[in-house]
């Protein structure tokens, strides 16, 4: 009797389409696209807006050959510009407005699509696995690699759409089609390469947060490698996905093989991720879980200790990342002077502007980038509150005699201490890097203060994120807008020709960029006061509202 009922069932199974490791990926992809529709649109729109606005602005600022050559004179051999922009492909041999646009823009656009791709991949793979719903999805007939494949196709779609829109946008802004297409191809393939790298990180890391951390670290190292490679003219540029992307030399005698190289690397790295994925358990990284301690240590006494413990990993990650980045960046300072010696025009430019040197300008730009990273840490530290609330973990805590104020302040305090610590260490690291290579030991203290001076401004950005979360938790994510704005203002204000009042909306703009400018205390005091006010306003809001639940 049993066999009689089993047989037809088997027959039914045999009639099903054959199932393999990627069975079901189209449905997962559809689900991802549905969940992502707003996020992806915002990312794509941001990339396109950045490119189009820059394109329009560049064609106004550098309309003719003379202005382009003026730009080329000031930019070539200026290490500060090379690190923060590009190596100036084509500016010497065949200067054109397109070459100027690429030099100013390609680095940051690639960083942006890289960021977009990294976050997209970890969101849909490692972080998703931490939820119960992923298990539900996995229990349906989907293959082991279905989620990975769907995620990569998602990344491909988003990057292709972004790149296509960028190509159309640049052409519409009056730039040549060939260069625009080269730029678009570079963007799309670089984005995919970062997506693939992030997919590997998702297999290795124990948590979604760690996977994102690894992805961001790779992005930072890529930035550094190409910076060092471009400044010193070494092969290091070619070890960096960003360097390979910029290497397409759009608008300057295009090298079409670089996007092909990126694409090939992306395919290879994706294959590596698939091999790793086949070897690990669902919901676990490659690194196995250690047992914890059976009882808490003596110092684990309350919300502050818990906040410190919870933020420890992230703090350590940011600390090491920023110190490493700062030390290498600082060490490039001596190159700045050597490059300057090749460029009499630029040398004269710096000689004329009293009290400032190429080294100072270079280091001030290094400190600005470090300050932006510091703000990234500050905002993510504050938004930890949002994560704890959304996951429902805070309920158990606030059901004990712990006030909301105390719980929230604990996380703020840990983040604040972290910010000061990271700023001090990062400042010292740039200073030491610069002092060792230039032989000017006074730079150590100077750079320490230069980065510490940014702490109050970072406080304002983190404070805004805190207020948003405290009053309207759904809007907490908008806390990142402040950082994006400060980055646009800090890195692209001149390129975009932004009006002064817009520039002044960035808290970072009110910080004297030491050592290039003199010290000025008013801005710092104002911002410290603003931070305190924001924290107070946030605490008032948080003690009045409902606690969100899982």
């Amino acid at each position: 009797m049993a066999t009689a009922t089993v047989a037809p069932v088997l027959g039914a199974l045999e009639n099903q389409p054959r199932s393999g490791p990627v069975t079901g990926w189209p449905s997962i992809l559809r689900l991802q696209l549905r969940l992502d529709r707003i996020k992806s649109l915002v990312w794509i729109a941001s990339v396109v807006a950045l490119v189009v606005v820059s394109a329009i602005s560049v064609s106004e600022l550098y309309p003719d050959e003379a202005s382009v050559q003026g730009y080329a004179r000031l930019v070539s051999d200026n290490a500060a510009v090379v690190v923060q922009a590009g190596p100036g492909y084509g500016l010497q041999t065949d200067p054109s407005t397109g070459a100027v646009l690429m030099n100013e823009l390609s680095l940051w656009t690639i960083v942006l699509v890289g960021l977009m791709s990294i976050l997209l991949v970890t969101r849909h793979t490692r972080s998703e696995e931490e939820t119960e719903r992923a298990e539900l999805l996995r229990s349906t007939p989907v293959g082991r690699h279905a989620a990975g494949l769907a995620t990569m196709v998602n990344a491909l779609l988003v990057n292709v759409v972004a790149a296509g829109a960028v190509i159309l946008g640049t052409i519409a802004s009056g730039f040549g089609a060939v260069g625009s297409i080269a730029f678009g191809l570079a963007l799309c393939t670089s984005g995919l390469l970062f997506a693939a790298i992030s997919l590997v990180a998702a297999q290795v890391a124990a948590t979604g947060r760690a996977a994102t951390g690894i992805g961001l670290a790779v992005l930072a190292v890529s930035f550094l490698l190409r910076a060092i490679g471009d400044v010193t003219g070494s092969f290091l540029t070619w070890l960096s996905p960003i360097g390979i992307g910029q290497g397409v030399r759009a608008f300057a005698d295009e090298r079409w093989w670089t996007p092909v190289l990126s694409l090939g690397l992306a395919a290879g790295v994706t294959w590596l991720a698939a091999v790793l994925a086949a070897r690990r358990d669902f919901g676990a990284g490659m690194i196995p879980e250690r047992a914890g301690r059976p009882a808490a240590t003596r110092w684990m006494q309350g919300p502050f200790a818990l906040a410190l413990r919870l933020q420890r990993g992230a703090l350590l990650g940011w600390f090491c990342g920023i110190v490493f980045f700062a030390a290498f960046y600082g060490a490039l300072a001596s190159e700045a002077e050597e490059m300057l010696a090749d460029n009499p025009d630029l040398e004269q430019f710096f000689a004329l502007s009293a009290g400032s040197s190429i080294t100072d300008a270079f280091l001030a730009s290094a400190v600005l980038i470090l300050a932006l990273l510091l703000a990234g840490y500050g905002i993510s530290g504050v938004l930890r509150l949002s994560g704890e609330e959304n996951n429902g973990r805070v309920e158990a805590l606030l059901a004990t005699p712990t006030t909301r104020t105390r719980w929230a302040s604990s996380h703020l305090l840990v983040t604040a201490i972290g910010c000061v610590g990271v700023a001090a260490a990062g400042g010292l690291a740039v200073g030491i890097g610069a002092a060792v290579t230039t032989g000017d030991s006074s730079l150590v203290a100077e750079m320490l203060w230069a980065l510490l001076a940014y702490v109050p401004a970072v406080g304002v950005l983190a404070g805004v994120a805190f207020v948003l979360w405290a009053w309207v938790p759904r809007l907490a994510i908008l806390g990142w807008v402040g950082l994006v704005w400060s980055a646009v203002v800090g890195l692209l204000a001149q390129l975009l020709d932004l009006p002064d009042w817009v520039v002044s909306l960035s808290p970072l703009d009110h910080v004297p960029s030491l050592p290039a400018e003199g010290f000025e205390a008013t801005g710092l005091v104002t911002m410290a006061a603003a931070t305190v006010l924001l924290v107070a306003a946030g605490l008032v809001g948080f003690t009045r509202r409902d606690l969100g639940s899982s």
Binding site: A291, G313, A399
Partner: protein, 307 residues
């Protein structure tokens, strides 16, 4: 408000945007009792408990917990309240033991002997990282944390949803002991056997409103007994008798349900047919529960229940 009440709630309202979660809920929990809090999914049990903890703010209604206001006196009250959430989310990087100690210390200290005893009785491995715990084990962590330090009031939101039967029995012992020590327990639960065993009084809610409240005895009186009887001659004429439901008969065997008030009269009429054997089942909480849940949609209609 009466001082012998641990919790007094009257006319409680709470909306989230256009969703009405609580619509005039009443709840009274007397000091020293185990009070069952029943209701279908989404009826507002968890929202009520979160309001009692001051995690959510009530829109309107009277509200008193241990003589204080849950919103403004939250911290003071929390010294005397222990809570086991319905959905236990722990810090993934911390071990169960660390979570127990952390929460216990924040509530004013853990009794190490009690902690060890609870861990032993609930068969919990405290050295595992929280992310590796199953649902039931996460619940055990929350239970140990709640019971390891002194408290006057236990708020338990479906605390046994993930426990195995052995652990459930252990849990029932723990609750009984807690009440023996003079604590008050509010137990939201879906496991009716558990509620029948543990609770002195129950409150049943539906769509954010209280539909029934009282001791189990009182509630039983309002519900139906199911009867199965074998008689010498086939029973007839009972089909449409007042207070009789679901009458079914096959030759000399009949089964039906009967309202508490009509029980005596109906049995008298059956006696006329010569009773050979009779089994009756006392009204269960389940039948009460289903009657209210089934009232308009939501649950299976009472009439379709197999006799």
């Amino acid at each position: 408000m009466s001082t012998s009440s641990a919790i007094t709630v009257a006319g409680l309202h709470k909306s989230f945007g256009s969703t009405v979660a609580l619509d005039g809920l009443d709840l009274e929990v007397r000091a020293g009792e185990v009070h069952g809090f029943l209701g279908p999914n989404g009826s507002g049990k968890s929202v009520t408990i979160r309001i009692l903890l001051g995690l959510l703010r009530a829109d309107s209604g009277q509200l008193e917990v241990l003589g204080g206001d849950p919103w403004s006196d939250a911290v003071e009250l929390h010294r005397r309240i222990a809570y086991v959430p319905g959905e236990v989310n722990l810090w993934r990087n911390l071990s169960g033991g660390e979570v127990i100690d952390l929460l216990g210390r924040m509530r004013g200290g853990v009794d190490p002997v009690r902690r060890a005893e609870l861990i032993e009785r609930l068969d919990l491995d405290p050295s595992k990282k929280s992310r590796t715990y199953s649902k039931g084990n996460r619940q055990k962590v929350a239970l140990v944390a709640a019971l390891a330090s002194p408290s006057d009031l236990l708020l338990l939101d479906e605390p046994t949803a993930g426990l195995d039967p052995l652990m459930e029995a252990e849990f029932q012992d723990l609750v009984t002991e807690a009440v023996g020590e003079g604590r008050t327990v509010l137990l939201s639960s879906h496991i009716l056997a558990e509620v029948e065993k543990l609770c002195d009084r129950v409150t049943i809610i539906r769509k954010g409103r209280t539909v029934e409240s009282g001791s189990l005895g009182e509630l039983r009186h309002m519900t139906r007994t199911s009867v199965r009887v074998e008689t010498e001659r086939p029973v007839h004429g009972l089909q449409d008798a007042p207070g009789v439901y679901d009458f079914a008969s096959r030759a000399t065997e009949s089964s039906f349900e009967v309202d508490g008030e009509q029980l005596g009269e109906v049995l008298g009429r059956i006696a006329e047919f010569g009773i050979v054997a009779l089994t009756s089942q006392p009204p269960t909480l389940e039948s009460l529960f289903l009657r209210h849940y089934g009232a308009d949609g939501g649950g299976p209609p009472v009439q379709e229940r197999p006799a």
